[in-house]
Amino acid sequence: MRELLPEIERWQREGKQVALATVVKVYGSAPRPLGAKMAISSAGEMAGSVSGGCVEGAVVEEALACLQQPPGAGRSRLVEYGISDELAMSVGLACGGTIQVFVEPLDW
């Protein structure tokens, strides 16, 4: 988390909204451990990672969708990526693992 703080603070100063994505479950082998984090700005910039690069693009999409929602309930979302998820085949983890990522606006 420490290494993401300078970017988050910079985005804040630039008046951007920020979303945070955290790996909250790991099944099988996964490139990044539980708690791995990625921050995303409303301009689509990112810092940190939640996988070895396999699903970051999809997480940015989720984060931007989350930030576009009006403040209030329903912005946070729990998403799953991995080869077991057919809907996520295009962004499946090459290592064969599955991860759950919680994506939320940094508004707390």
Partner: protein
Amino acid sequence: MGPIFNAWREAVEQGRPVALATVLAGPRTGQKLLVYGDGSGLGSLGEPGLDDRVREEAATLLARGESGRLTVPWGQESLDLFVDVQLPPPRLIIVGAVHIAIPLVTFANVLGFRTIVLDARGAFATPERFGHAHELIVRWPADVLPELNIDENTCIVVLTHDEKIDNPALAYAVRSRARYIGALGSRKTHARRVAVLKEMGVSDEEIARIRAPIGLDLGGRSPEEIAVAIMAEIVAVRNNAALVDPRR
């Protein structure tokens, strides 16, 4: 950003252990509870009884130093939570502001360590050479070490090749809780060092904690290669990797 994020950021920046519990599903999704090591905290999941329950579980994970997933039954609900645990960064204390210490500080910084360089010799310990270290302390290392609260999250490397600096520092280090203690020098140098330490009253068991020759044997010779070998060994020891034989 709100008060919870600010408190969380402050704890992370100050190296204060902190747990952050977040509800992942259901009507309370996104609600948070911040918990410090002493059990105090910030935020609420909406009900004091539930807060107490989650605070207790989060404190247990914090004490173990591990992030984790929790399921907490609460009335008709079953709360699905993630508890994020942030610990202070590990520290690397480098005794000897020698040439190898320069790339060593660079690599240790990249690996997330807080780097502290100790050397009484002002000619070596200059801000020009060690501007990238978190702390540069120009005093006798053996005098400074007792002031640094050495714990299991601390690694110590001794690099000066100068017995009157290295040995008193090592004599202190082996009796500390440091996770890793390494000393630069050949097997011959180390044999001589062991003899001196014994004369100083250091026990065999304490001496066995010193990893010497320092670093994994990567066959390198340059200061940068040796620095990589040292950091590789530190990473392996901290991860209890099988390749690092504790009886070496």
